[in-house]
Amino acid sequence: MKYTKTLIVSSVSALAVGAAAHLQADDTLRIGVIGPTTGVFSFFGEQQRMGVELAQEELADQLEALNIEVEFYDSQGDAETTVDRLRAMESRDDIDLVVGPVLGGTGLAGLEWAKGSGMPTVISYSAPEDITMRDRAENVVRAGWTGAQPMFAFGEYVAKELGYKRIVMVGQDYSFPYNQAGGFMKTFCRAGGESVERIWHPTGTSDYSSILATLPDGDAVLYNGAGSDGLAFFQQYHDFGIDARMPLLGGSNFFAVGNLPEMGDQAIGGLSALQYAEGLESDSFLSFRDAFWAMHGDEVMPLAPAEHGYVAFKMAVSAFDSANGGDRDEVIAALRETEMPDAPRGPFHLDEYGNPVQNIYINEVQEVDGRLVNVPIRTYENVSQFGPFEAEEYLAGEPDSRDFPPSDCSDPYYD
């Protein structure tokens, strides 16, 4: 009998706890921010959190007036954990709007969940293009980018301005780099390029010496990846002196998300493209950066994930503001109308699919005040997620994959 007793006691107490958790008063609006604050990708989650905290401070009065509270959740960079936290937000913590997730895989998991739940969601740094393309959902918008978006500009720049004809691209073998390659090749090949040879390696490869040993010849090498893989590739590329033979270009995250101090002076002159640059000199950027430093200390450089978190949070608050409360449909409608004339990265608005139409900067690594930063040397304005293409035409085409688009620029596909 004791078992039964224990069980009854424990289930009653569990019930009480559960009920207590459910009895939150409800004219408060709650924003849930989710990102990987632990694990391998904690850098991204930490940056986002710092960006959101800055926005919170700046909007303190408005948050109070609208009665908005903010909760932070750790996705651990893991799809399953992300879904679990999102469920907790909706049915335990009574969250009204989600900011995040940050990474590619967690973004797709978040989208999948958001479709079922209808929760207004502002995806921040997560870049799979189908989030705002083939799998788009009315209640999901994005404050960031698609993988191909900055590369449309970069492909054109590399072909036209640098005059390179043949590119060797070494990249991490998964969909984000495929998408970056796709964006690059679609403009590069149409702007005078001849070929892009792709070499894919498994994510998490740490020894590139053998890939470098069999590297084909070209006008330049583009490393299409980032993180520890990118740093190791960069290091070994220079160890074997290949930089003397072919210059090294970067995918969007290569120089942009925190590896520069580790790369050192050899990175100077490195080119890549992104919708953000920490070397911007516009007033809106400088005030963002100075406020960020005042809050978090100036040894931390605000990078794109921080700005995207900051902007995503501001989008959320202004949607609540113009919807005048928590009505879901009105909030979603307001989100989709977002215009950000003075975002730190530069002005942007959302296209009808919910992705920013924004500036893309061609960035060069330079040393400024004793630290390495990405300084924009060329700006392409109003680039959408479809680049130079019509939305319908782009969506009707084949999605980017490991070997699409074709390597050879004379392929009829590019006509």
């Binding site: 632990t38 694990g39 391998v40 990708f41 904690s42 850098f43 930490e46 073998d173 070499i199 894919w200 390696h201 498994p202 998490g204 490869t205 740490s206 020894d207 590139y208 010496s209 053998s210 890939i211 040993a213 069999t214 993180g227 520890s228 893989d229 740093l231 190791a232 290091q235 070994q236 220079h238 160890d239 074997f240 002196g241 925190g258 590896n259 580790e262 790369m263 050192g264």
Partner: protein, 285 residues
């Protein structure tokens, strides 16, 4: 032809690093049937601390020693205060090393953050030297030389010293060795400490070309396990041969079929398991 030399040298570099990792692991296993699944975490620990010391002092030697020593201290503490409590329950010991590995890796994440780290080497060390057949970065040559010297040293110790004889006796038959007055637990503590030291050093050495990052601990541990499964658990010779096979397969597979590199890496192990489960130089159970 040049490519062939290049790939071979790359394979040798990798084999060298793997041997440094696997030699201690396999000896400790042979002696006490304890597999240290925190070995990868010690690699990470040694690497982070070593790189920090090198950044602070500018001395590579100090960094290597610091990396090795911190892992040694970690290994000793774990052996004294945790493993000895469950001595003899070999599965509990293995599970305990998993737990310690998790804790160390997470603690390192708190201290050093999630961003990858690289080792600042001087220009002279990075510069290529002429090996007769091709130019190859100097520090990579040094890694190979170091592993070779380590292998020779371990072999000499194992073959010609009383200590080595005692270890061999312990590996062959622990009960008999103990009855002959050999203090196997003490010996084990020593071997375990040396193994941890080598893992820490490997962490610093490996960071000279592979960036150090969270998650690398598991990958390095995996590779070390593959090496000793191929070579035979407990066999030093096996560790050397296993490291060579794994290094070469990895290098050539990455060179010619990078997409399937990992698959090829596990292929020799699977074949060994099917045809010779005790490993190339292991004794049948």
């Amino acid at each position: 032809m040049n490519t062939l030399y290049f790939l071979t040298l790359n394979g040798l570099t990798m084999a060298a690093l793997l041997f440094i990792m696997a030699s201690g692991l396999t000896l400790a296993f042979g002696l006490m049937r304890v597999v240290n699944l925190a070995h990868g975490a010690f690699y990470l620990l040694g690497g982070y601390v070593g790189v920090q010391v090198i950044n602070d002092t500018g001395s590579l030697t100090l960094g290597l020693l610091a990396g090795g020593c911190i892992a040694l201290v970690g290994g000793l503490l774990m052996e004294r205060f945790l493993l000895q409590r469950v001595r003899g329950l070999d599965l509990s010991e293995a599970l305990m090393t998993i737990a310690v590995g998790l804790i160390i890796a997470d603690a390192l994440l708190v201290v050093y953050g999630g961003q990858p780290v690289s080792l600042p080497l001087s220009r002279e060390l990075r510069a290529p030297v002429d090996l007769g057949v091709m130019m190859y970065p100097y520090f990579r040559v040094l890694i190979m030389v170091f592993a070779l010297l380590l292998g020779i040293l371990l072999w000499l110790v194992m073959t010609y010293t009383r200590l080595g004889a005692a270890i061999r006796a312990g590996v062959d038959d622990r009960e008999t060795a103990m009855s002959q007055g050999i203090n196997v637990p003490l010996l084990f503590g020593g071997v375990f400490a040396v193994a941890s030291f080598l893992a820490g050093i490997a962490g610093v050495i490996g960071t000279s070309y592979m960036s150090l990052t969270q998650g690398l601990d598991v990958r390095v541990l995996m590779l070390s396990l593959v090496v000793i499964i191929i070579g035979g658990m407990g066999s030093l010779k096996g560790a050397a041969v296993g490291a060579l096979i794994t290094g070469m397969v990895s290098s050539f597979a990455t060179g010619y079929l990078p997409q399937f590199a990992l698959f090829f890496l596990f292929l020799p192990m699977t074949l060994i398991l099917v045809f010779r489960p005790q490993g190339l130089f292991g004794r049948a159970a």
